[in-house]
Amino acid sequence: MEQYLLFNSSDFPVLSTLVLLPLAGAIVCLFIRNETFLKLWGMAVTTATMALSLPLYFLFDQTSDKYQFAELRQWIPALKFDYAVGVDGISLPLVLLTTCLMPLCILCSWNQIKDRLAEFIFVLLIMESAMIGVFVSLTTVIFYIFWEGMLIPMYLLIAVWGGPRRDYASIKFFLYTFAGSVFLLVALIVLYVKSGTFFIPDFMHLQYPFRIQMWIFICCAIAFAIKIPMYPFHTWLPAAHVEAPTAGSVILASVLLKMGGYGFLRFCLPIAPDASLYCAPVIIVMSLVAIVIGGYLALGQNDVKKLIAYSSVAHMGFVTLGIFLFSMQGVKGAILQMVNHGITTGALFICIGIIYERTHSRELEVNKALGMLMPAYVMFLGIFSLSAFGFPGTNGFVGEFMVLAAAFADNMLVGALAIPGAVLAAAYMLRMLQKMVWADSDGHHHDVHDGGGGSHILTDINAREWFILSVLVVFVFWLGFKPGLVLDIMDASVRHLLNHIGV
């Protein structure tokens, strides 16, 4: 086991602390009564978690493809349940994404959540624990515990603090992802039966017969395709996004969807390499369909959250496309695209949350012509929308371009079929921007806002909102001009993965 691990955290169990800190913080939450103090506590815990995670970036050994900051403990020796955690170049960016976004999730709910605040913060912190847990686990047992552990808090986020159709959305979310998880569980049990171990890196070095590989691949792929979500398993996503509170949408879009892509990279590709290669054409076709259909559906939406939700389907199509091209550029582009989507789409949902707090509507018809009334807000919205359709200089461009270049290098036809997705992305994002910023506003009489009954008092974003959005803007441009920050980390791990698959 130890040969796959690198114990470079100098005996401090940093990853376990990252997982347990929010959990401990969550329990303390239940004893706090004062609302402001609750929110501050939530901020403190998530910020501490973030602060603890940042050194990982600097201490990470970029030349090694091993699982770093590893911890290995015996847990239930009789059942060979071990506790093993570690991060490699694929999971580290996602861990950092999670820890950096959580403080912003708390901040963006500052005024939005009025009832059951203690429970809300509690659920968010549990959620954070589970999400970090999924990315750092190295045994299937704890992976599955965390994987399922995310389901309940997310269900609660939608079902308790959601919009009017929250019951429908939360049940749909639960049923879809749970159905996927069952398939995953089957695959994990089969793996244990066949190999006698729960340790994920071990699976990589065992050769399974092709038939077994196919079953494992199909089971895992269903679970992850629902999670990511891939067309035609995507229908839970718009419902869940629309009804979830802002923080819920941000977590859902920025982190939860990434679990699907992460799953493909951690399970499908290394454990069932032959099956992955065999099924790649199917997945590529499904990705292309997702890119185009997702974009096409987004073009017709009048609910902003739904629009972004469908755009996520298209963006995630680029991720699966990149992964199944089996080239350095494609896989690295896909991981970068996951990080980018986390930042940009998270930011867009925060933007929508901000306007929802003011107009209590997500309809384009109501939230139109904001350009004159909320210039700062519109500036941020513009930057994030540009990033979402891959404007050069923003983070969105690099990921999309890498996947496209990999697609063209692989097969001209695949590349050509992905292009309509890029065109549609520009179309639906610019349509949204046009409506929200300009619509048909008459510039000469812009003091009067007649959208949605005309009774809203629209104030531009306040200092708290400035702060949230500025942080995200920094990342948009930073990764847009220096994607090496993330790409260099994943280099060794992706190379190792591709060598293992043998392409």
């Binding site: 697609a407 063209f408 001209m412 292009i419 890029a422 065109v423 046009q434 000469h444």
Partner: protein, 495 residues
């Protein structure tokens, strides 16, 4: 990065900083309006200060950051870039003065937004002119697209929104559907997006690359740079005429469209190379596509009675002269094309300035209403006539030099067809510009018009518009008589 080369960052950076400053001074209109003027002067000086080094053959380059291997944000100046950046930044000085007169006379709303976007668009053009690779060029190209949308939609009425939507749809569709895949393919094939700035013959493609792939990439880029308004992707340009006239003047006659044409020229000379284009027969096909655009747009221009629409179609036609010249792939043709970047800029900006001055003074946009207007606006109409002569290609005005080289180029490649196109289009130019000039000077003035000579050019704000107009038209003549500066810069590029 070499410290001396930080200078290269100034031309794109100064207009952007000016834009920020304009935004900060939004509460103080007087100071705000001065900023673009100062910014324009500084931008021009920063470009001019690079000229000696370029003329001496010193390589100036600066890299800001590297995104991926072979893709970076980096700048480098050569003769072509100097020509375009110098022309655009110089004309920005004239336009920034003109803007004050125009915007104040018509009491336009949202002037801060206007000036901010205007400056950023110019900064974007500077970036395009100085970019060392396709990514940098694309980056600034798209910045220009996005920041000109608010300028086109400026009036915020139904017509403005329709025009702006058409504008952005065309530009974005072309860049996403055509440019992006071409860029991705080139990156796959060559492993880099850096231009070959030293040799215009072979471009950057490695030997043995599939000829059909090169052809596809080439056509995708030719039409992908929709700002060059090559037919059939031209109709955004007339639609963009809903913008205030200073926008039509500087942006849709100089900055935006020249960004497109410049990108096309850069792509032909520094990505594909003249020898490769000739070997694949791409040069001559492009020349005929351009020739078709020249004639068709000229014919359409004759049918338009709205002055700005007529000028817009004239621009479509004139831009294709530049493409035509470069597509001839012989030194005289390329010279004629590139020098037309400058000559067309000076002449067309004067023409639009005149149109704007007439709108400000009388509110008239239709040519048929402009009878006898020269009596009240003599300087304006004189400038119009001079600039029109340049467009027609009459010596000694600038346009003549371009057309001379173009005609020589056509003879060099032994294409009487292209020579005929150049001659026929000149006749068409003469017709549709001649009509305006004739009506202006000799038409019957409407009843009740103030008969006093120059009465409409008397106010201070009008003077702020008339002087830049006259200056630009005057310079057009100067460049016609002394084209040596431009020719020297271009020869540098041709080697």
């Amino acid at each position: 990065m070499d410290v001396a080369n930080l200078q290269l960052l100034l031309p794109p950076a100064v207009p952007m900083l000016a834009a920020v400053l304009v935004g900060l001074l939004r509460k103080k209109p007087a100071m705000r309006d001065c900023v673009p003027v100062i910014g324009a002067v500084l931008t021009f000086l920063s470009v001019a200060s690079l000229a000696p080094a370029v003329l001496a053959g010193v390589i100036c380059r600066a890299t800001l950051c590297t995104l991926l291997p072979g893709i970076s944000v980096s700048f480098r100046i050569d003769g072509m870039g100097l020509l375009f950046a110098g022309t655009a930044s110089f004309l920005w000085i004239a336009a920034s003065l003109y803007c004050i007169g125009y915007m104040r006379t018509l009491r336009e709303h949202a002037q801060t937004r206007f000036y901010v976007c205007y400056a950023v668009a110019v900064g974007g053009a500077m970036g395009v002119a100085l970019s060392e690779n396709l990514f940098t060029l694309y980056l600034f190209y798209e910045i220009v697209s996005i920041f000109t949308y608010p300028l086109v939609a400026h009036h915020q009425d139904g017509k403005a929104y329709d025009g702006a939507r058409k504008y952005l749809t065309y530009l974005m569709f072309a860049s996403k559907a055509l440019l992006l895949p071409a860029m991705a393919i080139i990156y796959c094939q060559c492993g880099t997006l850096d231009f070959n700035m030293t040799d215009i013959r072979w471009g950057i493609f490695p030997a043995g690359v599939d000829a059909w792939l090169v052809r596809v990439c080439y056509y995708f880029m030719l039409f992908g740079f929709a700002k060059a308004a090559i037919m059939p992707l031209h109709s955004w340009l007339p639609a963009a005429m809903v913008a205030p006239t200073p926008v039509s003047a500087l942006l849709h006659a100089v900055v935006v469209v020249k960004v497109g044409v410049f990108s096309v020229c850069r792509m032909m000379l520094s990505l594909f190379g003249t020898e490769r284009l000739a070997a694949l027969d791409l040069g001559i096909t492009t020349a005929w596509i351009a020739a078709f655009t020249i004639l068709t747009a000229s014919v359409i221009a004759m049918t338009k009675t709205d002055l700005k629409a007529r000028l817009a179609y004239s621009t479509v036609s004139q831009l294709s002269y530049i493409v035509l010249g470069v597509a001839m792939l012989v030194p005289s043709g390329v010279t004629g094309g590139l020098i037309h970047i400058a000559n067309h800029a000076f002449a067309k900006i004067s023409l639009f300035f005149c149109a704007g001055a007439i709108i400000c003074a009388t509110g008239k946009t239709d040519i048929r209403d402009m009878g006898g207007i020269a009596r009240q606006m003599p300087v304006t109409l004189a400038a119009f006539a001079l600039a029109a002569l340049s467009m027609i290609g009459v010596p000694p005005v600038g346009g003549f030099v371009s057309k001379w080289y173009l005609a020589v180029g056509a003879l060099d490649i032994k294409s009487t067809g292209l020579l005929a196109v150049i001659l026929v289009s000149s006749i068409l130019n003469a017709y549709y510009f001649g009509e305006v000039v004739l009506r202006g000077f000799f038409g019957t003035p409407p009843a009740g018009a103030d008969p006093a000579a120059g009465s409409l050019e008397a106010t201070a704000l009008m003077k702020l518009m008339i002087y830049p107009t006259a200056a630009a038209a005057g310079l057009s003549v100067l460049w016609g008589m002394y084209p040596d500066l431009f020719l020297k810069i271009i020869r540098l590029k041709l080697g």
